[in-house]
Amino acid sequence: MYKIAHHLAWLNLWRRKARSLLVILMIIMSLSGLLALQGLYDGMITHLINTTIRSDSGEISLYAKEYRLDKSLDHILSHVSQVEEELSRIKEISTYSVRLEQEGLIATAHKSLGGTLKGISLENEKSFGRFDTFITKGTYSFGRKNKGALVGSALADKLHLKVGNRLIFTAQDANGEINAISFRISGIFKTGNPSLDENTVFVSMENISQFLGLTESATQIALRIKEADSIKKVQKELQILFPYADILRWDELYPLLIQMRDIMDIFNLTSYAIVFIIAALGIFGVILVSVLERIREFSIMLAIGTPYKMVRTQILLEASFLGLIGYIAGTFLGWILLIYMATAGIDLRSFKAGLELYGYSAIMYADIHFYYFFQAFFAVFFATLLSVLWPLHILKRIKPIQIIQGKML
């Protein structure tokens, strides 16, 4: 019986080719568009989170208690080498970076601005987050005498700084004295993290320690964790190990990223709703019209004893073929788009000015997750089921003999 229903459904699908193809095309377009967009949205967020982790927070960061409320040198981490020793014993940590920063005034021949001077080790930052890849001009170095500086691109623009120019940084040292120090710019970086690009100057750890009159000190120790699953566990361990420090995860340090991710999820959900509605309405329309125009044929079938169950199976299959063909072709096209956008990326340079505000980089790469295809399947599947309910209800209600004799409809 199923075989006959299947045969009839398939033949009927192609009896009205144009209509069927139109619906299938609608599903293909909306589904592949949805998949591409979802991958792109997710890719943007992943990219943002990654650059934030790579350029600043790591998966977890240690700060002296109070430091994040009052960024003064009164609240810093001391005895850093002891801390480092403890950290090197935790096997979940792949690498870490010790940083020391102070806020002050950055001045050039043109202009002066408030900013942050941050001491790092270039070698460490390279293994920590491949910081060298963020360099857009100049070199990833602090010059021959280790006295150079790397400047954020937005800050460099504001101060009209070029590689080779000098800047003077003025700030309080650990004893409360105001001091100034000058640097030659060896490189300009752009991370996409606005807090760095707009106001940070990187210099060597030795340089800043000397300037501030500190040894063995840090304002932040950022950690890279091997497995995402163990982040919370490591956080708990560290809290016990370093009760005098604030141990914060990247998502606690940058709650905005999580909010953006939630917003994107809503976006994605809305897109699924749209695909669902397009598929449901499209299939519903085609099935309803084709049931109505075949109502006499169905009546004859029912009158000669065809079980209602078989007619129901036939109509369900007709709808399923539309949904399934649309799904397969749509996900295939979407998958190709995703692969393309995940490898070649798409160039958003024309929107660059607008997007950079939010820290996006010019070329975006899409994410691909297996669950996209599952979600899409369920959207189309439920759309298909829903769309046949009303046509089936009509068939259940009719009196075949009245239709055959033209007394109904």
């Binding site: 019986m1 006959i4 009839l8 033949l11 009927n12 009896r15 075949r294 006499r296 044929e297 004859i300 079938m301 029912l302 009158a303 000669i304 004893g305 065809t306 079980p307 209602y308 078989m310 009196k399 075949p400 003999i401 055959i404 004799q405």
Partner: protein, 223 residues
């Protein structure tokens, strides 16, 4: 097949009330070739629909082989129709997407006859009904007379107990009507199928062995 005190009233107890059949008592024997005749509106179609289980009587009982089919549920009724009754309607009997061959075999397929048996039966009927040349065509590609012969083939294919035909010749010209009736009569004699028509067509009446005349829902003649 036996009908006992059958009444059929449409829209009972309303101003539109129509008493289509009044106290019908009839018995049909195996192999009979009967026509229900009478003027338009006399109740022929209504009676045929009741016999075929396509409609239910307002009161009275219908028996087929000692089973009271008038008490069946819709699902039971569908099963009964599939197994025991072949239908030929006035026109457009066929499933448009299936070939003539598939249409003839449709009921046998639903009843799970095996493919060999179906093929053999199709060839046999095609030769009697002279439709061998069109077996692989679609209903839309053949004439009305051919379509009706295919409908006959489908109705008789699974050898049901009863064939019911409501005005099977109404859409045919005289030549085709005569031909269809001759073929039906041949099948009736060869396979001892019981056939009941509702018709006032002279070609149908000519071929009938028994004629039941209805008038305003009452049997006025049975010969």
């Amino acid at each position: 097949m036996k009908l006992v005190h059958i009444y059929k009233t449409f829209y009972p107890n309303t101003p539109k009330e129509v008493k289509a059949l009044t106290d019908i008592n009839l018995t049909f024997k195996k192999g009979e070739f009967t026509t229900l005749s009478g003027e338009s509106g006399s109740g022929k179609t209504t009676l045929l629909n009741l016999i075929g289980g396509l409609d239910t009587p307002t009161s009275g009982q219908i028996f087929l082989d000692d089973q009271e089919i008038s008490a069946f549920s819709e699902t039971q009724m569908a099963k009964l129709r599939l197994k025991n009754i072949g239908f030929i309607f006035q026109a457009y009997n066929l499933i448009q997407v299936l070939t003539v061959r598939e249409n003839i075999g449709f009921i046998m397929q639903l009843l799970k006859f095996d493919d060999k048996e179906i093929d053999a039966r199709i060839s046999e009927l095609a030769s009697i009904l002279q439709i061998e040349d069109i077996l692989d065509k679609l209903p839309g590609e053949i004439s009305g007379g051919q379509q009706q012969r295919v409908a006959v083939a489908r109705a008789v294919a699974s050898r049901p107990k009863l064939i019911l035909a409501d005005e099977p010749t109404a859409n045919l010209d005289s030549k085709n009507s005569e031909r269809l009736m001759r073929m039906l009569r041949t099948l009736n004699e060869k396979e001892h199928i019981t056939v009941i028509f509702a018709s006032h067509d002279k070609y149908v009446l000519e071929q009938s062995k028994r004629i039941i005349v209805l008038d305003d829902g009452v049997v006025i003649e049975d010969r």
